[in-house]
Symmetry: C2
Subunit: 338 residues, 2 copies
DNA sequence: TTGTACGCGTTATCAA
DNA sequence: TTGATAACGCGTACAA
C-alpha cells in the first residue's frame, strides 16, 4: 500500500484487470449491467493499485463532483458553525463531501468563490448571505439559502420569535423596552425581527422612541457600543431585546461596565440560542432557533435537488421558541414606572 | 451581463476577440510577452462575455487550482474557527481560495477528503489533526500542520504553557492541584501539556496522586464529567488545570452544580484563550495561544511552499502566555492545608 | 508575438 | 455485457 509516485489512473487499473477503462468506470459508479466475475476482477485491481478518483477530471467530464459547496461570510460566528455542523452530518449521511468557503462579506470574494463553486460543486448552500447571492449561480447549479433570502430557503420564524421575546418582557412588566437591531440593508432576518418587535409593542399600546432602536450590528462590539448609548440615555430602557446573541453578549458587557446588574437593573433577551448563552453571567434568556437541525434540513433539501428529486417545499420556516434563563426579571419599581 | 446558459470557455472569448485560445490564456495568466493592443482587446472580450475560468479544467491540465484545502475534525470548535479565521485572512491576501473540509475524526472520511484535496488543492492545511495525517498526501501536495504533528508544523509551546499555569497555581499557595488532560492517544499537544504540568509539580516537590489526573477529553461534557469525579474525591483538589478551555468550562459547570464557588472554593485554569473565556462566570484564567496569528502563519508557510519558496523554518513554536482573570485565587485556609 | 497540436483523467455515446 | 472514441476546458511545448 505504498504511495505511488504518479497517481493511479483508470487506465492503469484497466490494464491490471485486463479490461477497458469504461468497465472500470462502470464498476466504480455501480452501473448495473455487468457480470459478477469482471466486477470482482476489477474490484481486486482497484484495491491492488490503490486507485482514487480524480475529482477534477470527473467534474470536467460532466459528471458530478460529489461536492456540496458552502458559501458563508465567516466561520468564527457561532451561528454559522452550528448550522454547518448540522449540514456536515447530512452530507456525510448522503456520501457527499462538504467544502466551506468564506466571503468575508466582500463582494469581490463572493463573486470569485461563487464562480469557483459553480463549476466545482454539485450544489451550493448559502449560509447567512449578506444579500441575495443566488443569481450568481443562475441555472448552473442548485442553490439553497439558509436565511430569509432566495428562491429556496430555510429560515426561522423571525417575526414570531421577536414577538415572543417582546411579549415575555412586556409580561414581566417592562414598558421601556429597547431593541438592538441587525443591519437592515444586508440581512432580511434583521428586518423581520425588528418588525416583530415593533408590531408587538404597538399592539400593546407602547410607543417606541426612535432612540430606543440602536444598531447592534449583529456583533459583540456593536452590541456593546449600542447598549452604552441606550443605557446612558436620560431615560434608559429597563429591558433590551437584541437581534442576536452576540450583540446581547455585548450589551451584557456594557451593563457590567456601567455597574448595572442583570437582571435586577436591566433585563436582556437575545436571539439564536448559540452555545455561549448558557455560560454567560448570568445565562441569557433568548429566542432559540434549532440551528443544527436547520443546517441539516438545508443540506437535505439541496441533496434532493442535486439528485433531481423535486422537493415538496422550497421554503421551510422553523418555529422559534423562548428559552428562559436568568437575564430577565421584572423591572425595579423605581425605574419601571414610565 | 445576463447569465449565459452554457458556460463561456476560452474558445468563446478567443472568437469574440479574434485571437487564439492561447492568447486569451496568456492574458489571463499575465504572461509578459504580449502587445498592449491585443491584451486590451482580449480584456474587453473577457468582460463582454463574462468569462470565468473552470477550476476543474485548470487543475486537470496540471496548473494550480488557486485553492488551499483545510482538513479539520469539526468547525464548531472555537479553537478551530479562530485559527481558520487567521488562515482565511492570509489566503485572501495572497489571492488564494480557502476550502474547509471536515473529517469528524472518522478515518474513512479523512481518507476520502484527503484524496479529494490531493488532486484539487495546491496545498493542504491540517488543523488539529487527531493523528499524523501528512503521509496520506505523500509528495503530491505540500502540507502544513497546525498542532504538534508532522514535518512542517505551527504550534504553541505546550510544555511551557502548562508550566506557567501550574506555577501560577503553586504561587497562589495551592498544593492539591489536579489536571484535566486531553486524549493522549490522539493529540500530541495533550501529552505535552500534561508533561509540563507533571514536571512543574515534581520540580516543586509536589506529588500528584494518580486520581488527580482525569480525562477531560478536550470537551465541555468530558470536562464536566471528569471534574465531578475530582470534586467528589475524599480529598478533592483546591485547583484544577484543564488541558483546554472547553473542558475548563465543563469543570466550571460541575463546580456550580456541586455548589462550589469559583475561585473561593476552587481555582480553575484553562488553555487556549478562546473567546468564550472572557464571558463566563467568573471569567476564566487561561493560557493564551495566539490562535488567529498561528492560523495566519500556517497559511503563509503553506503559501510559500506552494510558490516554491523554501521557507526559513519548518517548525514554528509560538510562546504561551498566562491571562489572569477571576477564576483563580489563593486556597481557603481550611482546605489549603494538605 | 501568436498559433497549433496534444495531453490531463474521466464520463457519454454508441457500436460490437 | 463490454469496448472504442470523442468530448469536457485548460495549459505546455513547440512551431510559425
Amino acid at each position: 500500500m505504498a504511495e505511488p509516485l504518479t497517481p493511479v489512473t483508470l487506465a492503469d487499473v484497466a490494464q491490471v484487470a485486463g479490461v477497458s477503462k469504461m468497465t472500470v468506470s462502470n464498476v466504480i459508479n455501480n452501473k448495473p449491467s455487468m457480470s459478477n466475475e469482471t466486477r470482482q476482477r476489477v474490484q481486486r485491481a482497484l484495491e491492488a493499485t490503490g486507485y482514487v478518483v480524480n475529482p477534477a477530471a470527473r467534474a470536467l467530464a460532466g459528471r458530478r463532483s460529489n461536492l456540496i459547496g458552502v458559501l458563508t461570510p465567516r466561520v468564527n460566528w457561532p451561528f454559522v458553525t452550528e448550522v454547518l455542523h448540522g449540514a456536515s452530518v447530512a452530507a456525510e449521511a448522503a456520501g457527499l463531501n462538504l467544502g466551506i468557503f468564506t466571503t468575508a462579506n466582500n463582494p469581490t470574494l463572493e463573486r470569485e468563490r461563487a464562480t469557483l463553486l459553480r463549476t466545482l460543486a454539485d450544489g451550493v448552500l448559502l449560509v447567512a448571505p449578506s444579500a441575495d447571492e443566488e443569481h450568481i449561480f443562475g441555472q448552473a447549479v442548485p442553490v439553497v439559502t439558509l436565511g430569509a433570502h432566495g428562491q429556496r430557503s430555510i429560515q426561522v420564524d423571525n417575526h414570531t420569535g421577536a414577538a415572543i421575546a417582546t411579549r415575555h418582557l412586556l409580561g414581566l412588566g417592562h414598558r421601556r423596552i429597547a431593541h438592538l437591531r441587525g443591519k437592515h440593508s444586508h440581512i432580511l432576518d434583521a428586518a423581520q425581527r425588528e418588525a416583530g418587535f415593533l408590531a408587538t409593542m404597538q399592539a400593546a399600546g407602547q410607543a417606541v422612541p426612535p432612540e430606543y432602536l440602536q444598531d447592534g450590528e449583529f456583533s459583540e462590539e456593536g452590541g456593546e457600543r449600542a447598549a452604552r448609548v441606550l443605557l446612558t440615555l436620560p431615560e434608559p430602557p429597563t429591558a433590551i431585546f437584541a437581534a442576536n446573541d452576540r450583540s446581547a453578549i455585548g450589551a451584557l458587557r456594557a451593563a457590567h461596565a456601567l455597574g448595572l446588574r442583570v437582571p435586577q437593573d436591566l433585563s436582556l433577551v437575545g436571539f439564536d440560542d448559540i452555545h455561549a448563552t448558557s455560560v454567560t453571567d448570568p445565562p441569557l434568556t433568548t429566542v432559540r432557533q434549532p440551528l443544527e437541525k436547520m443546517g441539516e434540513t438545508a443540506a437535505r433539501l439541496l441533496i434532493d435537488l442535486i439528485r433531481g428529486t423535486e422537493p415538496a417545499q422550497s421554503h421551510v420556516i422553523f418555529p422559534a421558541t423562548l428559552v428562559t434563563r436568568a437575564s430577565t426579571a421584572p423591572p425595579r419599581a423605581d425605574r419601571g414606572s414610565s
